[in-house]
């Protein structure tokens, strides 16, 4: 899957530079600062799930590539690590920039000792050295250069400090001969040599040989590209027998410690910084609770009241309702006349008066405010603290706290969230969460319409709706965690990045990128839906469909037969389906009970086309189809149950 993707990234004839590093060390920040096109920057581990590439501003002939964060390349523990390792092994990488968080030099050196086994020139960026220095850690980079025989450059990526010097250095270096090489105990070195001899036709043979000995299962696919099964068998034999992990870890650790002693000086820092003080509240099991309510309140006011209320009113009524739509309608009637083309653009389901009005006046404000709020929470380091705090709840439904970030993002866009399920550690968790996202989480577009629909029914209904979502999420999470069997055990170990004040420029940049993504996903679908609707309306297919779906819609859900249209729209996008109900409600065709049943059913209804395609891409065709069918079934069943409950009440 990643294969074709990477091929177009590396460009032969140009200098291909790859950024490598632990998660959350500022790789993406460096990437954004030095390249012409911008990519997402993030504050929690695992965001860089896609590989980004661009060109360095000051060097025409360059390609710069950002890779997912890694801890260990000899033995991979996550999909991200696997992707990065394969990238380094399979493609013609000309330079590596290892980005190290100066506060965590140890981990960086650990990774450096592994990367030095690759036959690629390396420069190290000692990033965030200001933060390290504030914490009393001084690093002697001259000494590091002396030890390793490669360049170390101090940088502060967010401020652009040191980046010019970093880039200039990368462009200059070519040589790999004079640098430090680690020596493993004799018996392991002999093994490496034996494997190396079998790796005919490969680059980076020593690195690859070490990976074979430590991590045969995960490296097999690379071997299969060039070796016959006989040789692979031999390598497998060599990798068995003794446990080399301990030898390698011990050697690496001894070297890391020896080096750190020579290059790091610690000063005593007396006072706690403000962020540490705040953090002691956020890490406290009780004191964190009020901050959760404050956050929800912030979301409610910023997204709900300001975005979905004030902004939507202004755009929908003042701009589209009073200015654009009457004017455009007038124009069409005047110059085109009363025909199908006019209907297609400015009629009841018209592209301008329905699709675009809807996309830009209702969806856009809600999505924008949501993404701004989400980026703030993400960049501040608050979300990772929630991950850790709420982990035990998610553990009960077969997930881990890490599921919170995709779930929260799902309230913005479920398709985007489906991509980020990659940050979960096991296949089982990824399956469960992908399904739950598609089933339960309403994206901001859908929330916008649904809120508009039920806000008139009072607070109780709103709470009931939210409880239903939580209940369905937990219930199906639990069921799936029992149904999906796996040998893989999931261990929750999670890095909490330091708390930071989010940079406004970063927040706006991320919001802009997400919005752009969202609009290009959504608008074409809206226009398509408009066209289908107008055609259905003209040709008279609608009545036929009403009849076919009537047993479910009328019989089971107790809705008027016209509601079938909303469900058909729902196949395109759930929020479009919700809009269908909105239209029915405007016409006064729905009772209060029917409105509640519709809202619950459409909330759970099938994921939008974009999400469906993403599910297939990420989890495979079979999973996608099974999920699709079960979700429709579940949505109708639960809708029906709600109907029965409401009757009893």
């Amino acid at each position: 899957m990643h294969h074709e993707h990477h091929k177009c990234i590396i460009e032969t004839g140009k200098i291909n530079i790859v950024l490598v590093g632990n998660p959350n060390v500022g790789k993406s920040a460096i990437f954004n600062q030095v390249s012409v096109k911008k990519a997402t920057v993030s504050n929690y581990p695992g965001t860089t799930v896609e590989i980004f590439s661009s060109r360095i501003k000051t060097f025409e002939n360059s390609v710069i590539i950002d890779t997912p964060g890694v801890y260990n390349l000899f033995k991979v523990g996550s999909e991200d690590e696997k992707v990065t390792r394969e990238f380094l092994l399979k493609y013609d990488v000309d330079r590596i920039v290892l980005v190290i968080d100066s506060k965590n030099l140890e981990r960086g050196i650990y990774l450096l000792l592994q990367l030095l086994e690759l036959e690629v020139p390396i420069v190290v960026s000692l990033n965030m050295f200001d933060e390290a220095s504030r914490r009393g850690i001084d690093i002697d980079e001259k000494k590091l250069e002396e030890i390793f025989g490669i360049k170390f450059i101090k940088t502060i990526a967010t401020e652009g400090y040191g980046l010019k010097s970093l880039i200039d250095t990368i462009m200059k270096i070519k040589d790999t001969s004079k640098r430090f090489m680690i020596k493993y105990p004799e018996e392991f070195e002999t093994k490496i040599k034996e494997v190396e001899e079998l790796l005919v036709g490969f680059k980076h043979r020593r690195f690859l040989a070490i990976c074979c000995l430590l991590d045969f299962e995960n490296i097999k696919n690379i071997l299969e590209e060039k070796l016959d099964s006989n040789k692979i068998k031999k390598i497998e034999e060599l990798s068995k027998g003794k446990d080399y992990d301990i030898i390698v870890y011990n050697t690496l650790r001894k070297n890391v410690n020896r080096i750190l002693k020579q290059v790091v000086k610690k000063r005593k820092i007396e006072h706690k910084s403000l962020s540490e003080k705040i953090d002691s509240y956020l890490l406290h099991p009780v004191y964190i609770i009020p901050t959760i309510f404050l956050t929800l309140l912030f979301l409610y006011y910023f997204v709900g009241v300001f975005g979905a209320g004030i902004l939507v009113d202004f755009l929908e009524e003042d701009i589209f309702g009073e200015k654009i739509n009457p004017y455009v309608t007038e124009l069409f009637k005047k110059y085109i006349g009363n025909n199908i083309i006019t209907d297609l653009f400015v009629g009841e389901y018209g592209i301008i008066t329905f699709a675009l009005t809807y996309a830009f006046s209702i969806i856009l404000p809600v999505v924008t405010t949501f993404f701004i709020a989400f980026s703030i929470l993400e960049d501040s380091g608050y979300l990772p603290r929630l991950v850790s705090y709420l982990h035990i709840l998610f553990k009960k439904i077969g997930l881990s706290g890490k599921a919170i970030i995709p779930t929260a993002l799902g309230f913005g866009c479920v398709t985007m969230a489906t991509i980020t399920t990659r940050t979960l550690s096991t296949k089982k968790e990824r399956k469960i969460l992908t399904f739950l996202l598609a089933l339960t989480i309403p994206c901001s577009a859908q929330q916008a319409v649904i809120l508009a629909l039920i806000i008139g029914l009072g607070f109780k209904v709103l709470v009931g709706w939210m409880l239903t979502i939580i209940l369905v999420y937990s219930f199906f999470g639990y069921v799936l965690s029992k149904l999906i069997r796996t040998e893989e055990r999931s261990y929750f170990i999670y890095d909490l990045p330091p708390l930071r004040l989010p940079l406004i420029s970063n927040v706006l940049l991320k919001t802009y990128l997400r919005l752009k993504w969202y609009i290009t996903e959504v608008v074409p679908l809206y226009i398509l839906a408009s066209i289908i609707l107008v055609l259905f309306d003209k040709v008279g297919v609608l009545n036929v469909l009403y009849e076919i779906l009537s047993p479910i819609v009328v019989g089971w859900l107790n809705l008027p037969k016209e509601a079938a249209l909303a469900f058909i729209l729902g196949f395109l996008r759930r929020d479009y389906g919700a809009a269908g109900f909105f239209a029915l409600n405007e016409k006064g065709l729905l009772t209060e009970e029917q409105l509640i049943v519709s809202v619950v059913t459409i909330t759970l209804f099938v994921p939008c086309i974009a999400n469906f395609l993403m599910i297939i891409k990420e989890r495979g065709k079979l999973f996608g189809i099974v999920a699709f069918l079960s979700i429709i079934t579940i949505a109708f069943i639960i809708g029906g149950i709600v109907n029965l409950i409401l009757k009893v009440i």
């Binding site: 033995k75 870890y249 890490l283 850790s388 706290g401 055990r489 261990y491 170990i493 890095d495 909490l496």
Partner: protein, 210 residues
């Protein structure tokens, strides 16, 4: 007596490895000793296999326990390399009495596995979880927030867990500060803050620091 102890210890290990055939035993000891052991009701022979009697098992268990505790002490606390501690552990198992064994076991936090990964037989102290002498090595979960400690070893059956702990920077000898133990465990290690399951914290054994 020492020879008998050695022989019974060997039978115990053969049983662990499911290799308790007579031939296997005779590779290291002679026929006469085997007959002595049978005569004194330390072992019985069934289908060409040796089995410890209750009396024999008790002796073997104690000797194995002492041996493995000694290994653990030397390796994890005094950090002596394998070649030298093996020899000492072999002498140690014959000279220490039960009371001292239990004290050492408690002192070490009732460890479950020896450095080779074999099970250390449980003693009385482990069942009672004696605490009169403060264990110097204990699971991380038993510390209080704010306390400092040094990681001594992990007890895990899963390599994946060990790998993932190590790649997050947790390894023996590293100093940590415990920040929180509920709902998840949060520690500071160097300048990183790491959060993990309470389950995992039960498997990380630490030495408390002041």
């Amino acid at each position: 007596m020492e020879v008998i102890e050695e022989a019974l210890e060997y039978v115990w290990i053969l049983e662990e490895d499911n290799k308790n055939e007579i031939d296997e035993f005779l590779k290291n000891f002679d026929k006469k000793l085997l007959n002595d052991l049978i005569k004194n009701e330390y072992i019985v022979v069934k289908d060409n296999k040796l089995e410890l009697t209750e009396k024999g098992r008790e002796i073997a268990k104690n000797i194995v326990r002492r041996h493995r505790l000694a290994e653990f002490l030397l390796y994890n606390v005094f950090e002596i390399e394998e070649e030298s501690y093996e020899e000492f552990a072999c002498k140690f198992e014959h000279i220490v009495d039960e009371e001292i064994t239990d004290k050492i076991c408690t002192f070490l936090g009732h460890p479950l596995y020896c450095p080779h990964g074999r099970k250390i037989p449980r003693g009385k102290c482990c069942i009672e979880k004696k605490k009169e002498i403060e264990s110097i090595i204990k699971p991380l979960i038993e510390l209080k927030p704010g306390e400092k400690a040094e990681i001594v070893y992990f007890v895990t059956e899963s390599k994946r867990l060990t790998d993932s702990l190590i790649s997050h920077g947790l390894s023996p000898k590293k100093k940590i500060i415990l920040k929180q133990i509920y709902p998840t465990v949060i520690i500071q290690i160097d300048e990183s803050i790491i959060s993990f399951d309470r389950e995992i914290a039960k498997r990380i054994y630490v030495k408390e620091l002041d």
